[in-house]
Symmetry: C2
Subunit: 434 residues, 2 copies
């Protein structure tokens, strides 16, 4: 019998604040970081997971994974990875730890890191990348992985079964198509708030030349800057390439409405995070008032319970899952199924550290076995920090290529995690010596 031998966490940080990569109206100086975890079994298996953070506080997520990890060490590996629904519930609903959320913030993200690492073991055992594992998994097993707690008024196990059974028709053809042609991406690379106009224009043109059908700009610094930058970007990409804009929760409800409507001239496709993502009612009001600009949110949505309400209230046009905000693969299956139930496209958030590598699997699975559609669906892509991963995300001609390596995509290179371990790694020691 295999048992969980150890749960080992590492605080990995990259000094991205030095270049203002990733700068926006709220996250002004992020050091993109990964709370990284390696779950080892006494048979020598390993499963890897990570949680993205912005630097300070990464140590709290690693501490969270250490705390929840104590619930796993010594347990039967087979029991955990063959019943990942139970495994997730055991962590998420622990009778004492749940007070820390419930199901939100540091504790919830920590659960997600561990849950993903358990899925990593499972996917490696079956020698499949996560998206293929999920796409080929029996419907009943997918349904058993979902925690329906507090979403029963929008999605029942019977609803989920129906959605997944409809997704079986044509599945093999879609899997072949994904392997051959990949899945559409959009890029945020041109649009960081810290970039000069010249850099914005140059990178926007490059994005179009690279085959992207959509780019994204950070907004909400000042309305004059936003109008100028959006005009420059629109001139650079032409009328047919979509431009999404992202306010990173900067505004109050009325402020969002007034500001966004002053940008209508440049026909932005969606406004992302116009206000607090905890504010379902404000999102609903903003969506009504900024039509035809669509409303998107999700990278900071704490759980399926908030996504459910955003859908019930008609508050969003686009649901943006994030691979490391919620409690891992299981909760993102719930989010995909909720989106399908409300006929809402999923356009995942990515970037940061490893988010592209992880989240792509969900869109591939969604196309293969849930929505069966790529209409108005794109995965975010930001071209940095991929070189630290065992299988970097690959985007060519504006499309993510299907991951091939077994696992969930979280495995990092040992030399990278060692070099950028905070604060003891050689990379940080060298920076601190300056």
């Amino acid at each position: 019998m295999s048992r969980i031998l150890s749960v080992t966490t590492t605080d990995v940080r990259f000094p991205t604040s030095l270049d203002l990569d990733g700068s926006d109206a709220v996250n002004v100086d992020p050091d993109y970081s990964a709370a990284y975890v390696d779950i080892a079994t006494d048979d020598g298996e390993h499963g890897y997971g990570l949680v993205f953070t912005c630097g300070r506080g990464n140590e709290l997520v690693t501490a969270g994974m250490d705390s929840y990890g104590e619930l796993l060490v010594g347990r039967d590996t087979d029991e955990l990875v063959n019943n990942l629904g139970d495994a997730s519930r055991r962590l998420v609903h622990d009778s004492q730890l749940r007070w820390l959320g419930p199901e939100k913030g540091v504790s919830h993200m920590a659960c997600g890191g561990l849950v993903n690492a358990l899925w990593d073991i499972r996917a490696r055992r079956e020698n499949k990348p996560l998206w293929l594992l999920l796409s080929e998994m029996p419907v009943e097993e997918i349904v058993s992985a979902v925690d329906f707690t507090h979403i029963g008024n929008a999605l029942t196990p019977a609803d989920a079964t129906d959605i997944l059974q409809r997704g079986q028709a044509g599945k093999q053809e879609r899997i072949s198509e994904l392997r051959e042609h990949g899945y559409p991406a959009y890029t945020t690379t041109p649009g960081w708030l810290g970039y000069s106009d010249e850099k914005l224009v140059r990178l926007s043109r490059e994005a179009v030349a690279d085959g992207f059908g959509m780019i994204k700009l950070k907004v909400a610094g000042s309305i004059e800057d936003d109008r100028r930058r959006l005009r420059l970007a629109r001139e650079a990409v032409g009328p047919d390439v979509r431009i999404a804009i992202d306010a990173n929760q900067r505004w109050e409800e009325q402020e969002a409405i007034d500001w966004v409507n002053q940008l209508q001239d440049f026909a932005p496709y969606w406004i992302e995070e116009p206000t607090s993502t905890d504010d379902i009612l404000a999102h609903a009001a903003i969506r009504k008032a900024v039509h035809p600009i669509k409303v998107a949110t999700g990278e900071a949505v704490q759980s399926r319970i908030i996504f459910k309400q955003l859908l019930q209230a008609g508050a969003i046009d686009i649901l943006q899952i994030d691979s490391t905000r919620v409690a891992g693969v299981n909760e993102n299956i719930a989010n995909l199924l909720l989106a399908a139930r409300f006929d809402t496209p999923v356009c995942p958030h990515a970037g940061g550290v490893g988010l592209c590598e992880l989240v792509q699997h969900f869109s591939f699975f969604d196309y293969a076995a849930i929505s069966g559609s790529m209409d108005d669906r794109v995965i975010e892509f930001v071209d940095h920090l991929h070189e630290h991963f065992a299988e970097p995300a690959i985007v060519t001609n504006g499309r993510y290529q299907a991951p091939k390596r077994a696992g969930v995509g979280a495995e990092m290179l040992g030399q990278s995690t060692a070099h950028w371990t905070f604060p003891s790694g050689a990379g940080w020691q060298a920076l601190n010596a300056h």
Copy 2:
């Protein structure tokens, strides 16, 4: 000039799970715990704060206070405690740490612990208990302490100023009244789910004899048990004492409606936490369907942004603030003002470790300077663990007596924190030796 010298945290836990004190349908075996913090200045001042948790995970909140504490050490004490609005915003909106929430879960509670400790220094400097400090503070300073971010569509600084200015009339009389007669309490002591019928009846009778006008019962184990226990409690207290019931988020929306309506025979006063407190829309639906039973929630409400929506959506009759869930005194002032704006009574959650000692100050302040009313307003009281505090909460004849000692109420006895430090304290060492 005084500077912050150190932020020292202690993981204090009490083995309450041995007695099933505090047991309910979700929290089946809590070890009531306090993530305790002592902020010291280089002038020898001390401010104390704490965050209540249920045991496992208490170490994550202490770690959180350590992390946020780094933002305070070395700073000018006067600048912090004379502008507590800025002090709070500096912690809550730190550009890197905010990713961990934003404004929810472990990171937010950790901010709250530190913010309360800073208020403790301020209150000690003015030699006043927190409730009196707040009640006598100039309106402009109270308003400047509030973070209006993402509540601007419900409460503006002008609204807050109006509410507080109306609260000035008769304030001195109400302060005198509070000092003389205190503030009404209700007790949860009889109603824990782990207690026998005999104990429930005995403690219910004792509660009435002790002068309480309301008791609370935990429900949602089984409907048969709930009907039997509620019948016994109603027989024990008679028709005129209110009985609140509390499901601790156990139900789905429709399940809550069906279950609660089967308890109408026994005329419960409110149903507390019928479902996830993150679920604003479900609370609104439940409230409509269980009338005349009132709906109450708040001990798990992560921030003012959720409280605002619960009020906007007409989802609650009773707003239950908690002293250590949100970002401290500042955010609870926001919550009190939101409640006043929507003419909704505040009935604080208490119990746990130190929650009675801390939260009472807000109801006293609310009566003195905000709502000016005690109608349908009661503070929860649970009679355990008070002996560990420098100034234990005192309830006589069913009323909280006005706290007299300078500070926010969080200071614990050194012998208590040392004895119950987890896992190294003598109390835990002795238990582990068995």
